[in-house]
Symmetry: C2
Subunit: 237 residues, 2 copies
DNA sequence: GATTGGTCTATTGTCTACAGAAGACAACTC
DNA sequence: GAGTTGTCTTCTGTAGACAATAGACCAATC
């Protein structure tokens, strides 16, 4: 039996920081002070700083030299970028991964979905979030394209950061199970094996309700993003 | 006039390391020992480690906990991933960015192209590399999609890492100017304003000669990558 | 009263030092 | 002679401390 190496403080700090970001404990725009975090996490500054570099690369925090780090505050243009890129990556992944070629990849989806259900029924909000991320990643992973999956994961985390803004509104218990049911349906369509059907299901799947009234909540409107938002809303109607 | 903040040691170390990687001074598979680099770069370990985290996120080096860091060694499957993802991102960028809407974005392309020419005629090999990267990035940047550009840039650097393997073969002076001419032609097509024409030019542009005999130089053949390589070669013939 | 100058504190940037793990090598045992 | 064990060296992981900078606050002057 192979024992696994104990996680480094950098890993632990990265995960802890990410949880603080995705749970909304750290809000977009908040200043991230190193010394405060070292005390809260019980880690010294060097590993914490490395963890922050990782999250900076992921686009979750933004560093200003000699000024400090801030939780990334997303503009409407950012959201436009996230949603459009996400869709394109999804598209590519489905075309490569459906119908499924390797059973092991599919079992990863099922495993994530099962854990998702467990967390949902237990009302474990944070667990559902993590497993939903893992489920989507595993779906992208059906393509066998690691870089695609990583790019998708990064984009997905940024999207969660942005949805955290109005998370409170959706935090009701039933949406946890509802999410799971949508994911289960998606996986069924995937197993059916038609890429086009999966595209359709994904288009329906994307929860765009968080875009309602988003212009008022965020700044940074660009011509591209405004045009996009208009198109999205027309498409819905 | 706004003065810019002096670069941090992390930034400098990141850039220096990247140059060592892309110039081939550090070869894929090479061990990266922290203490050696601190001496060579004149930086202490914490900032160097932060820089290494950044490059790890970019996929240029690979860290094994408690074992050390290594320059990423690419498999055939990795190359398959890089080339296919790159193409898809390019595609998306062209569809969004052509015809060009903002003059300022186009001028960035021209600026990079001019610097490219200067370096090429001076025989500045490293400069050509940097400006070629910047030119391609600026072309992707025509889309006004920062995340797309960043994803592309990361992929592009990995591709350069892999081309570094047989760089010596192409290091003749004429290819420097040749690269520039290809880029100039591409920019002309872009300015003409037809996305389809740009797609065509890009398909012709991609220098696939580095794939010649690549199966023998790298390991890690996957079903996907072998099928892809076959398709690419058939497409050429 | 407003503005400029200085000081002071909080925070970041960097370095040095130590603890612990991994791998190499030698000596010892069978 | 082959295998195993113990030790030693090298390197990474982490901590703590110091230097330098940014921003706030207060005082003094015009």
């Amino acid at each position: 039996m192979r024992i696994e190496a104990p996680p480094s403080m950098v890993q632990l700090a990265t995960e802890a920081l990410m949880r603080m970001l995705l749970s909304g404990r750290l809000q977009p725009g908040d200043r991230v002070v190193e010394n405060q975090l070292t005390q809260q996490l019980g880690v010294s500054r060097p590993p914490l700083r490395e963890a922050m570099r990782v999250l900076e690369q992921q686009g979750l925090i933004t560093q200003q030299p000699r000024k400090g780090a801030f939780v990334t505050r997303l503009t409407l243009h950012d959201i436009y970028e996230i949603v459009t890129l996400r869709r394109e990556l999804e598209r590519m992944a489905v075309d490569l991964g459906v119908p499924v070629r390797e059973e092991s990849r599919l079992s990863r989806c099922h495993a994530a979905l099962d854990r998702h259900e467990t967390c949902a029924r237990a009302g474990d909000w944070m667990g559902v979030l993590e497993q939903a991320v893992e489920f989507h990643s595993s779906v992208i992973g059906l393509s066998g394209h690691r870089r695609l999956e990583e790019a998708y994961r990064s984009i997905q985390l940024q999207m969660l950061l942005c949805m955290g803004m109005n998370r409170q509104a959706r935090a009701s218990g039933e949406s946890l199970v509802g999410d799971w049911e949508r994911h289960r349906r998606l996986l069924e369509v995937i197993e059916a094996g038609s890429p086009e059907a999966v595209h359709l299901e994904l288009a329906r799947h994307g929860d765009m309700t968080f875009l309602d009234g988003i212009e008022d909540r965020v700044g940074g409107h660009s011509p591209e993003s405004l045009a996009w938002l208009r198109r999205v809303r027309e498409g819905e109607a």
